[in-house]
Amino acid sequence: MSATKSASKSFFRSEKWQKYIASMKYAKYVLFHPFDGFWDLVHERRGSIAAATTYLFLFLITRVIQLMFTNFQFINVPLQYINIFEQCASLLFPFLLLCLANWSLTTLFDGKGRFSDIYMAMCYALVPYTLIQLPLVFVSNIIAFDEAAFYTVLMSVSTAWCVFLVFIGLMQVHDYTPGKTVIFLIATVLGLLIIIFLLLVFLSLLSDALSYFISLYREIAFRLY
């Protein structure tokens, strides 16, 4: 009993945990001082992958809570057809692909950021979504449909803030000029499409190959039978 207590105590006093808490708290600085914040996040090692992943999970959880508990006046979700894991995957997969596409492009055009840096910056940029939309789920249950303006404005503010942070984040991580960042954002989207295309081609080839072997097996099985 006392042993586990002391162990947990020592865990919360450990340097690792302190670093994690500090990097979590650092998000507040990033939100309001994005230029400084993102620079120090990666170049001064103020952020951590653990904290970034935590924020990514919070984002996914926010999305799920939003789908489940937002009042029906403000959201159109046929809950009977919704699969939570599908929803999470549909956010997580493009997000990671976007990071990958950005990394594969910028690494060729003297971007300073490593993959982990890009991932970290993108995750920290998602914080406003969680911060604003989670309380909005509660708010949606205490306002009526004709007061929706309040709700929609805050929704768009959160999205705009996220986009702004992604832009600044990538700019600081790669040490790019704003113009170059814009060009590479567009290129990243194109890269994303190419990756998806290649994945689809690969999958269809795979299924063709598989069906070939399956039919081969069947043919043999029938002959022998």
Binding site: F72, Q73, P78, I142, A144, F145, D146, E147
Partner: protein
């Protein structure tokens, strides 16, 4: 030999079982776009929901039953006045006058000559109308006239091609559909006139066009045509012209309902195509659309995996309670909408059995009974509302009258027969809201996904709640303000004490 037969039999049985199981599967699936029963409705998500039958076939009237020597050939239109039914038997150049007595339809007379007119016979008449005095109007298409006769078939006057300069004189005047209002004004839907309905005063003078279809064109088509085509190319391309209506109907308040079947099908769901319109005096569309989906007929256009295109609403009729009913030729289907544009039911299909159509062309109502004309079969199907159909009518009629609680009782009855009926939930919710039962009303509105009414009752509920719990609300708010204030001042005093002590020590 017998083994072979046995094999074949087995194979046959297997295929039958396979087909049966496929059919069972489609019947079980909720959202595959196939109608699975004769009568259905759409829920909030646009999924098809089976429903009890709103109408049943009462009888089918064939030419033989009426004692006609020559069967009806390509009849195009029906007209009802009181118990009289007029059938425009286009292919035989005649009008049939039928009378309904109880459930029996009998032939009164065959109208094929107009006494004293020149010419005195019809040439492919496409529509017939009767005014309150009993004068009969016939759209005598290939004679280029609308001929008017009194009830004894004596020629009165005719409406011919206007000599006015607004009417393109190079076109021939081919009246296709007509309606006559209470004061004897005639509105003509003429083929190849795209400026709208041709309007004649009671004294046959032409007074202009009413309610032209809006010209619709694609943005890119416009740019291409205006800036990238030569004059010669432009002359060869199709001009941007409004399309013609398909059919017209005049309701009890003298508003003209028009249906339209030529549009791009992608404009349907965004409500640009507007296949059903209600035209006011100056020709603007004033149809009310308060549903999530506009009144376009079917929302799914693929049937048994064959794309059949959108519903082709060839005719429309309006009941006295402002419920309008349109008939679709593509799938032989009949759609009922209430005055708010909310679908009440849809039923019917193509086929040769009773209650199905090979090519429905016209619809009329006699009281609440529906009469549907099939142009290929040359028969008229009479539908009467079932208990369920009548309940829906009663409920919406008592609501229109202002008897909200009576209407709610009717909706309760409807819900017992069909638990998927959104309108019933809204009707009951409204009545509950009037009785200040906010929470219950909110439950009903939520089931029907009615945001506006839910919001309304929620605001009232919130007001009551805040008034009841104002003490707690103030207390919590006060705590939220006071606790940090106290904390702050306590900290401040502590700091001062500490600073004072430090000074003391230093001294």
């Amino acid at each position: 030999m017998t083994v072979k037969v046995m094999h074949r039999l087995l194979a046959l049985i297997m295929t039958v079982i396979m087909f049966a199981s496929i059919n069972i599967n489609t019947a079980l699936a909720a959202d595959d776009g196939y109608p699975v029963s004769y009568t259905y409705n759409y829920d909030y998500w646009g999924d098809i929901r089976e429903s009890p039958d709103a109408y049943r076939v009462d009888q089918v009237i064939y030419s033989v039953d009426l004692g006609l020597d020559t069967a009806m050939r390509k009849p195009q239109s029906l007209f009802v006045q009181g118990n009289d039914l007029y059938v425009c038997d286009t292919g035989n150049n005649r009008i049939l006058h039928l009378n309904r007595n109880g459930n029996e339809f009998t032939l009164v007379r065959v109208i094929d000559t107009v006494l004293g007119a020149e010419p005195n016979t019809f040439n492919t008449p496409n529509d017939v109308a009767v005014d309150p005095e009993g004068n009969i109007y016939v759209a005598d298409t290939n004679n280029s006239r609308v001929v008017m006769m009194d009830k004894d078939l004596n020629y009165v006057q005719q409406f011919v091609k206007p000599t006015d300069s607004t009417f393109d004189q190079s076109l021939s005047f081919l009246p296709n559909k007509i309606v006559v209002d209470k004061s004897g004004r005639v509105f003509v839907l003429a083929s190849n006139v795209n400026k709208g309905l041709v309007k004649f005063e009671a004294n046959t003078t032409f007074t202009g066009f009413v309610g032209a279809n809006k010209v619709s064109y694609n943005f890119f088509d416009y740019i291409w045509k205006m800036y990238f085509s030569t004059k010669e190319q432009r002359a060869q391309q199709v001009a941007f012209v409004p399309t013609e209506y398909c059919n017209i109907y005049m309701d009890a308040d003298s508003f003209i309902y028009a249906t339209n079947i030529s549009f791009s099908e992608y404009d349907l769901l965004s409500d640009v195509a507007q296949p059903i319109r209600r035209l006011n005096g100056i020709g603007n569309d004033i149809l009310i659309k308060n549903d999530r989906y506009p009144p376009i007929g079917d929302l799914y256009w693929v049937e048994q995996s064959i794309p059949m295109g959108p519903s082709k609403l060839v005719d429309i009729t309006v009941l006295d309670n402002d419920i309008y009913i349109a008939v679709d030729q593509t799938r032989g289907r009949i759609f009922g909408y209430d005055s708010q544009g909310i679908m009440l039911w849809a039923f019917g299909t193509t086929g040769n059995s009773e209650g199905t159509f090979t090519s429905a062309i016209s619809i009329e109502h006699m009281g609440k009974d529906l009469l549907v004309l099939d142009q290929n079969g040359g028969n008229i199907t009479v539908f009467t509302p079932t208990e369920y159909g009548n309940l829906i009518y009663d409920a919406s009629e008592s609501y229109l009258k202002g008897d909200y609680d009576g209407s709610a009782e009717k909706w309760e009855e409807v819900l017992k027969l069909n638990a998927n009926y959104n309108l019933a939930f809204i009707g009951i919710g409204r009545s509950l809201l009037r009785q200040d039962e906010y929470i219950k009303a909110m439950e009903y509105f939520e089931m029907a996904h009615d945001r506006d009414n839910y919001g309304r009752s929620f605001r009232l509920y919130r007001k009551v709640w805040v008034e009841e719990n104002i003490g707690w609300v103030v207390a919590v708010l006060a705590c939220l303000v006071i606790i940090p204030l106290v904390k702050h001042s306590v900290n401040k005093i502590r700091m001062e004490v500490a600073a004072y002590e430090r000074n003391q020590v230093r001294k």
